[in-house]
Amino acid sequence: MTRLSRWIRQPALVAGTVIVLGLVLIALFPGVFAPRDPEAKGRFLLEIGGQVYAAPFPPNVLYPLGSDSEARDLLSRLMYGTRRTLGIAVSIAVVRVALGAGLGVLAGWVGGAAGGWALTLSAVSATFPSLLFAWVIILAIGPGAGFGVFIVALGLTGWAHWTQLLAIAVRRIRALPYMVAAEAVGVPPRTQLLRHVLPNLLPLIIPTLAQEVAAAMLILAELGFLGVFYGERVVINFTELLQQRATPNTLEWGGLLAGTRLEVFRWYWLPLAPAGAFFIAILGFNLLATGLRDALDPATR
């Protein structure tokens, strides 16, 4: 059985790949898939099923996921916002995995005091809920911070468990017979790390990256719901949030969620459409991570 035919038989991998590929295509070519221009405002009044509605319109033939309060198509806005949201999530995941994997390899390979402190740092970081830490960092950075700073700030959360996981994996690989043999014949430590250890960590790191994109999407959704998102720095007044107000003028999925807490009663599509988009993306990346983990695990070959 070839590797490809084996992989096709894994439903999680197939489903995850289809969803993620779909999102990537939409992100790269939103104009091909979106039914309308995301900023195009339609008529303020619309007849749906014999009744006349004012914007925001409920889902109908013209607006499949409904519209916002300025009669802009939500589906088109979500599709055009895929690129920014996906880009932010992937960047955050790369920072997290790089940080976690880097410290994990340090702890597992170097060991000693440096490794001990790496693990202590990860244990302290793991104590802190990601959302709160991200909230503190983002607001400490303040308005007007650049894309890079935003990504690094969110990337500083949620990396701790990968440190511990990779430290264990590196120690396990070091104890394998071929590593002992490599050391015995005098292979330099740096060559051992680059040629033998790191390639064997790839089956662990690649699914981890997919899973971290899903985790980053989750935190972007929760921060967006609380009113913090990249693209438009909105100063949130909680008294204002408790009342109804129009959603901010942004194409990022988290921004589309901001301020929709009480709008779920009258205009349920306003929070549900971006929440649904986040859910599909999180599901897709998690399925991809599960499928990749099973496909790349040597024990299943």
């Binding site: 244990a123 104590t127 802190f128 959302l131 709160l132 909230w135 911070a145 989750l218 599901l283």
Partner: protein, 291 residues
């Protein structure tokens, strides 16, 4: 004795590090020149540490009241997580090849993936649209109220906060049960003629319980992560909501104390779970003794 002292030293080190790290985060202001940031962060943080008693005197009642309200939610959510998650996990683990087992596994996986605010919105709509209307009881506060503490208002936020713990505990329990079912001693127990219930109670459960405890600890972290969002949705005046508003107001001492309360809670819970796990599993006690 030596391992006990080392354990105590490790716990104390974690508590001190968590206290310093989370407090320092509250004094971060990264939108200014670096040297100015360092100077201000150092002076404000030093001032906070040296006058901790006075800060606690002024802010203690606020922090304590918010902490108590959040603990009520967290304990309710974790208890619900165990009450619903463990039986669901047992069903999914023992009957993994049946439609019921697969359904429970699929629902628990979906539960882990679903954002908390989505659960919160669904629960809020259900309670406001249906339960409020048919029972005539006000189950949800749409405006924050610190004076009123009506136990009926705990149900909706506790259910929302419990969603991911239930899913995670069910998922982990099912995995632990499936691993144990594959072991030789279970085959031996069945071949001796023991009933399924006796195998579950006498063999499977004692070996899976440590994993379940670890899952409960991890689900507490999920719940802590979701706490600000859930408290925001239901206007529950706990640590999460107070922290969001304190950070927005740049009230650094209050933010620091609230953050420390969360961090220390998690460290102490982790330590308690580790000690309980050692009590329940003699193999962990033996490993600790040798280490």
């Amino acid at each position: 004795m030596r391992s006990g002292l080392r354990f105590a030293r490790d716990v104390l080190l974690r508590l001190v590090l968590v206290f310093l790290a989370v407090s320092l985060c509250a004094f971060l202001t990264l939108d200014r020149p670096v040297l100015r940031q360092l100077y201000e962060a150092t002076t404000h943080f030093g001032d906070y540490l040296t006058h901790l008693g006075r800060a606690w005197g002024m802010l203690g009642p606020t922090v304590t009241a918010a902490y108590a309200r959040s603990m009520v939610l967290l304990v309710s959510a974790t208890a619900l997580g165990l009450l619903l998650g463990v039986p669901a996990g047992l069903v999914a683990g023992v009957r993994s090849s049946t439609w019921l087992g697969r359904l429970v596994a699929a629902v628990s996986n979906l539960g882990i993936l679903t954002p908390s605010f989505l659960w919160g919105l669904a629960v809020m709509v259900f309670f406001v649209r249906y339960l409020n209307r048919y029972t005539g009881v006000q189950w949800i506060l749409l405006r924050p109220s610190e004076e009123l503490f009506d136990p009926r208002t705990i149900l909706a936020p506790a259910l929302t906060l419990a969603a991911r713990p239930v899913a995670y505990i069910a998922h982990t329990t099912a995995a632990a049960i499936r691993d144990e079912l594959a072991q030789d001693y279970i085959r031996t127990a069945h071949s001796k003629g023991l009933s399924r219930w006796r195998v579950l109670r006498g063999h499977l459960w004692p070996n899976a319980i440590v994993t379940v405890l670890a899952a409960a600890n991890a689900s507490l972290l999920f719940a802590l992560s979701s706490l600000p969002v859930v408290e925001f949705i239901f206007s529950w005046p706990g640590v999460g909501l107070q922290l969001l508003t304190a950070i927005l107001r740049t009230d650094a001492p209050l933010s620091a104390l609230l953050l420390v309360s969360i961090g220390l809670t998690f460290v102490l819970t982790s330590v308690a779970v580790d000690l309980l796990a050692q009590r329940l599993d003699p193999r962990l006690r033996a490993e600790e003794g040798m280490g």
